[in-house]
Amino acid sequence: MCLAVPGRIVSIAGDDPLMRMAKVNFGGIVKDVNLAYVPEAKVNDYVIVHVGFALNTIDEAEANQVFEYLKEMGELAELEEQNASASTERQ
């Protein structure tokens, strides 16, 4: 339902907390984005933007878990395979 796209904050302007505006770079194009809901966001942070508003900042550390989880599963599967072949060998 809700198209939201990640982009990097290039600059922040305005001290009105309601209308704290940023220039956000999305892969080379720049749009004005309202930061009212992400008061903690600073320049170079990535934010997720929906209809001109940043909904949240993106957590760099969490961004990798998708792939770490995959790696863990891969290792687990290998381990299981080894165990399985070890147990067949034992039989």
Binding site: M1, A4, P6, A36, Y37, V51, G52, L55, A63
Partner: protein, 368 residues
Amino acid sequence: MKYLDEYRDGDAARQYAQAIARITTRPWTIMEICGGQTHAIVKFGIDELLPEAITLVHGPGCPVCVTPVDLIDKAIEIAAQRDTILCSFGDMLRVPGTGKDLLSAKAGGADVRIVYSPVDCLKIARDNPARQVVFFAVGFETTAPANAMAVYAARQQGIANFSILVSHVLVPPAMEAILSAPQNQVQGFLAAGHVCAVMGYTEYEPIAQRYHTPIVVTGFEPVDILQGVHLCVRQLEEGRAEVENQYARVVRREGNPQARKLIYEVFEVGPRAWRGIGEIPNSGYRLRPAYADFDAERRFGLTARAAEESSECIAGLVLQGVKKPDQCPAFGTRCTPERPLGAPMVSSEGACAAYYNYRRAAAQPARR
């Protein structure tokens, strides 16, 4: 693009698909709530990678699809008035009301404008002080912070010629409606990541418990969706029913409290009619009495009227995951994106349009 391209990686997607196949021992039916996810699933062909035992059914999370006919008629009626500008998100323009859609209203001379953000309407209102500017505020929780800000800022800045036509819907009541329906087939949910970015996911915890149904907060890219399916299947296989967060790079458990604060400043929860489904209690937002001045229905004196839906359209069943679009007898014949019978055939997020655009070939003889 950082945080986008990584999650479209073909190898990671295939590895997740294999991992899902490894843990799947029997058939499961999982619903992705959000139309954005439906769109990604058919566009990238994600479900083709899944084992046959996993069925993805498509949920009601398309704001354009669930906006009642009655409200579209009202938007058209407002647009037709003199000295009025009706502003809307792009994909709302093609959704049919009882007689016509907003695009035809525009073709007939109405001033209908596409905006990127609801706050853009404030500038239009300032630039056109002698005209009424109305924003057609559709959306789920994700869009509510922006719509709330438009109204809040209009009051702060004294922009009196601005109002909104509200059709705001909420996800959790719809999930409960689906789960408690007698024909329900859904065993697990992928919850909509961007809704949860605003709302967090504590409100899903009691639902997971009460209906013993796993709910995985999920992102929108292929690898996200596949990981979401994996987490969901793992819970189902292990007999667990918890809320898990696949989309932790964007979603925190508590959501975005600042955004919710402004939502509740401007809106309150009330009953909402969902197109194709009917009224669901406490399933939408309406303006609080303090902001009633900004209510377009009130400003234009519009009252509820009976609006007829095509009797042939099974959108309600599709939106509840009971039927797939291509199980509809009208699909691709009497109902096409050019001549839609129901809203899901219109929006690019609508399940019917997604099926029509991306996979009609499998079901139909060659055209021409």
